[in-house]
């Protein structure tokens, strides 16, 4: 805020008004999306947008330090922490729409509406026609002013904040730490056990090398064109995220062969072509059959 607004004023600049109405709309839409989106990731991103808008509002209100802290701490650290936990818990997990309490949603919306009206009525009744502005308070610099207050008037609160942060860090570590109940087996022990049991002594086959999707979720093909389930990570197998492209691959190969034959101007004997197409269809059928069996 400029020094001109240091004295009591009743309106802000037009630019700030335009900024408020445009960004305020964005903030409210972001907040509504936060509570209405079914997937937690979308909620988190909407909330991050709202928080960035709030940072701009802090800057507009003369809280330069808080505006930067809002971006660094909230949208930078806290929202990323949220996203980490969302990823841990599962991105695809959408909220169930089943209501456990009948009519709870409408009642909640009604209560929210009443609460909002109450708050707005309270603000409307307060006599806030003029405002002082921060021109004088920020004259020595916003950060300097805050520092002077933090280390004099609020020094005890500041010290206690340090204790709180340490407690929170220790608490988070204690809550998420898991003690190993058994010793992890070493690589040597695992290899010795493999040899002793006689199962899969050589390394497991590598997954398919098609550079699409995740590539590691595509099983490698055995010489006869069928897929090797062993080539895919056990976790992906357990989740059922194995992509079988052997049918497609065989069909593509057959098409390629056919094209090259045509390009070379040589006609293939009818029987071989039909057999190739049939083989591809048979392989995909076979893959479907095996997928069904795995489930």
């Amino acid at each position: 805020m400029s020094g001109a607004l240091a004295a009591a004023a009743s309106t802000t600049s037009t630019g700030e008004a335009v900024q408020f109405w445009v960004l305020g709309t964005v903030a409210v839409i972001g907040a509504l999306c936060t509570i209405l989106m079914r997937k937690a990731v979308h909620s988190a991103l909407s909330l991050a947008g709202t928080m960035i808008v709030l940072a701009v509002f802090y800057l507009a209100n003369g809280a330069y330090f808080l505006g930067v802290v809002q971006i660094v701490v909230y949208t930078g650290a806290i929202m990323m922490l949220f996203l980490f936990v969302v990823m841990l818990v599962g991105v695809t997990a959408a909220d169930s729409l089943k209501e456990t309490l009948k009519g709870q949603r409408w009642l909640a919306a009604l209560c929210g509406l009443g609460f909002g009206i109450l708050l707005c009525a309270g603000i409307g009744n307060a006599s806030l026609k003029t405002f002082d502005g921060l021109g004088q308070a920020n004259s020595g610099g916003n950060v300097e002013g805050l520092a002077a207050l933090v280390f004099t008037k609020y020094v005890f609160a500041f010290e206690i904040t340090g204790a709180l942060l340490i407690t929170a860090a220790v608490g988070a570590m204690v809550l998420t730490h898991r003690e190993r109940t058994e010793r992890a087996r070493s690589q040597r022990e695992q290899s010795e056990e493999r040899v002793r049991t006689g199962k899969h002594v050589p390394p497991l086959p590598a997954p398919g090398v098609y550079a699409r999707h995740n590539a590691v979720d595509i099983p490698g093909l055995l010489p006869d064109g069928t897929t090797s389930e062993l080539s895919v990570n056990a976790t992906l197998r357990g989740r059922g995220q194995v992509r079988d492209v052997s049918g497609e691959a065989l069909a593509e190969l057959a098409a390629l062969e056919q094209r090259s034959e045509r390009w070379l101007g040589r006609r293939k004997p009818e029987g071989t072509e039909a057999e190739g197409a049939e083989g591809a269809a048979g392989a995909s059928e076979d893959a479907e059959h095996r997928k069904g069996a795995a489930k």
């Binding site: 805020m1 009743s10 309106t11 802000t12 700030e16 305020g24 903030a27 409210v28 907040a31 936060t34 509570i35 937690a40 988190a44 709202t50 928080m51 709030l54 509002f57 802090y58 209100n61 809280a63 330090f65 808080l66 802290v69 701490v73 909230y74 806290i78 949220f82 936990v85 841990l88 818990v89 909220d95 949603r105 919306a109 209560c111 929210g112 609460f115 909002g116 708050l119 707005c120 603000i123 806030l128 405002f131 002082d132 502005g133 921060l134 021109g135 004088q136 308070a137 920020n138 002013g145 805050l146 207050l149 609020y154 904040t161 942060l165 407690t167 929170a168 988070a172 809550l175 998420t176």
Partner: protein
């Protein structure tokens, strides 16, 4: 425009956050709604600071941010622990004290 409009916006955001806490089931989204409410309070504090021409409001908003950061760390750790034991982040599923 009077800066009081910022207070109305803060009230609106706080209301949306409060409604979200009541409506949603996913513990992470509940937590985000709480954060939204804290942010709305911060906006109100910053606006009060401007209305009254001193920096006390900004100091309180600053402390709110610190407490919110500590709260998020512990709260998300609790959510992760509950998710590990119940394989669900829904608050409806966490209806028993002991699994």
């Amino acid at each position: 425009m009077n800066p009081v409009n910022y207070l109305y916006l803060a009230a609106l955001l706080f209301t949306i956050g409060a409604a979200g806490v009541v409506i949603r089931r996913n513990a992470i989204v509940l937590f985000m709604c709480v954060e939204l409410m804290l942010n709305a309070c911060n906006l109100a504090f910053v606006t009060f600071s401007r209305l009254h021409g001193n920096l006390d409001g900004q100091i309180i908003a600053f402390f709110t941010m610190v407490v919110a950061a500590a709260e998020v760390v512990v709260g998300l750790a609790i959510i992760v622990t509950v998710f590990r034991s119940r394989h669900s982040a829904s608050v409806d599923d966490a209806s028993l004290m002991k699994l």
